[in-house]
């Protein structure tokens, strides 16, 4: 059994790495690297779940670690990459605002997240405040990706990154939601991903492009 101090350090490390992946997602210009970092984030999520499961003995979490690894680490990034290839989308990420200012905004968001979570006192659980602050920062960065990117696919990755951050917070800060809730959320995300897939084809058929500028013009 590992000591609680070591565990605390490990979960801090996981949180820091998670924040790093969120920033890396934001910094990518190329579609392939973008999806690659998304996959890394998924794998990190799975690793965190497994870590928490190991240290707390809540074995349900192994299930969600496994699901995260398969779905978020491999299947979804791969499917999105397939869509990029199949639809012949331009391989550039095409941000609305330049990368550098977006990074500055993201840094401000992190500060904001820490400020918001100041009143949260340290509870019995491991390092709750840090993890909640980082989780919130990653949710906000996911939103930033959705807002500042032009393509439908990048918006979807932003959405899924946000979902990843939520799962991360739930596992690391509260040792996972009850199983019913976790499965329900996973189910909803799966349906959402399916609908996204349908949308790609509808948008492409109607607008002949996945660039959302056209969508705005015609509305």
């Amino acid at each position: 059994m590992i000591s609680s101090e070591f565990l605390r350090q490990l979960s801090s490390l996981a949180a820091a790495l998670f924040l790093l992946t969120a920033f890396s997602l934001l910094a990518q210009r190329h579609m392939r690297a973008f999806l690659g970092w998304f996959a890394v984030q998924g794998i990190l999520l799975a690793a965190t779940s497994a870590l928490v499961a190991f240290s707390t003995g809540i074995y349900e979490l192994y299930v969600s670690a496994f699901l995260a690894l398969i779905l978020k680490g491999f299947l979804m990034p791969w499917l999105l990459w397939r869509i990029v290839i199949q639809l012949g989308v331009n391989r550039e990420v095409e941000p609305l605002i330049n990368i550098f200012p977006t990074m500055l905004i993201a840094a401000t968001l992190v500060l904001f997240a820490y400020y918001v979570s100041l009143p949260i006192q340290k509870t019995t659980l491991v390092m709750t405040r840090n993890i909640i602050a980082i989780g919130l920062a990653c949710v906000l960065i996911g939103m930033l990706i959705m807002i500042t990117r032009r393509k439908a696919i990048t918006q979807v990755v932003g959405y899924l990154a946000m979902e990843n951050a939520l799962f991360f917070t739930a596992t690391a800060a509260t040792h996972g939601m009850p199983l019913v809730v976790e499965i329900g959320i996973a189910f909803d995300v799966l349906i959402a991903a399916l609908i996204f897939g349908l949308f790609f084809f509808q948008i492409r058929e109607t607008f002949d492009s996945l660039d959302l500028r056209h969508l705005e013009d015609k509305s």
Binding site: I132, G135, A173, P178, V181, I195, T206, S219
Partner: protein, 487 residues
Amino acid sequence: MNLLNLLLAIPILTGTILAFTAHSRRAARLNIAASLLTFITSLGLALRVLEQGSTVFNGQAFFLDPFNIFLVCLTAFVAANTAIFSSAYMLHEEEIGRVTPRNMRLYHAMFQLFVFGMLLALTTNNLGVLWIALELATLATVLLVALYQTPAAISAAWKYFILCGMGIALALFGTILIFSTSSDVLGHSNAALTWTLLYAKADQLTPGVITIAFVFLMVGYGTKVGLFPMHHWLPDAHAEGPTPISAVLSGLLLNVALYALVRCKALVDGATHNGLAGHLMIGFGLLSLLVAALSLHRQKDIKRMFSFSSIEHMGLITFSFGIGTPLANFAALLHMTVHSLVKSGIFFTVGHAAQAMKTQIMGKITGLINLQPGIGLGLLLGTIAIAGFPPFGIFTSEFLLLTAALKSYPWTIGILLPSLVVAFAGLFRHLQPMVFGAPPREVHTVRVNMIPVYIHLGLALYLGLAIPTFLANWFQTAADLLSRGSL
């Protein structure tokens, strides 16, 4: 088999069957039958609550109390009438080729899934499941908004999806925060998310965490309710989707989202004992009311106009719950009921009008009263009711609301009354030419079914004149419960 299982099983089973029913006419009939059956089941449950008071079902998984039972009945009732309306409406849309038979199948299946999502959200005893059910109801309607596959419809659906996705993610973050503090009190299990158990121990939760959680829940569920400034998805989704969907979105989904928000507020009040949650709701409510009332004037599309009217009324109800006195809660509950009856009735009428005129642009809809008196009269009466004229129920609830506001926050009257007047003017300035203007030369009469509209308006009228005792008792109990902040 208990009635609650039946209530949830009917929509989900019917939805599955409808997904494989290719014959549109038969599917529409099955849709009506199932919706009516759901409504009857909900009445049975209401009777039980009437006799036994609040009840939990299936262990602690579901519960019914005076606050959610009437919303369950209302949801089932409006859904049943919408199914009746949509049968004629959607078959007409299929005839003129706006919808393919395959999409009709999708439409019927998703309609039932949507109803399932809402009923689950209303009856569940679990915060997490509430979130899941609300998200499910949204996902079910996203594809329906895009049903016509026009560029505008797809763009509206995308906006709906993305904005609500963002909002609901924040709500989930709030839920996680609540769980992070409640699991210290109630243990790491489902119990820590169960309403009835949480309420009882609300004052043991950490106020700091709960306060932050409520801000997230407010923004998250508030997006769903359509509160300013997160309302941008709402007019588009209402205008571009098929009219029956606009009716249920406006009349039901907004209510359910607001229900979630109000439940959270009661919990937060119990934990923090300061008026923060209420003040937030008052602020958001007033802003939405004001912005929506002003926006009403600038609309060109008839469905967009009435969707802004929905934002206005949701703002009003949020404001009223924010005040939080028993009288204000009573007014808000009554307003919720009457608004969903009248608004869905209006959308039915608008659907017929748009089919008759082949357009949704208000400038091109003229002289309805001469052309098709049924539609013209329905639209006129509906608008009179929604604008808050006596003797319709909205007048009663707005009157109560103003009284409550005058008692607790007199300064808000300075915003409330002008906004109501501005909204009133906005509605009637557009309505006048549509109903009484010169009719266009070429005339297409459509087969209309105005009975659901008259049932809805009749009920709104009845609630305005005399609220039945049992309903008033429920409202009273629910209002007291919400103002105390715990069970």
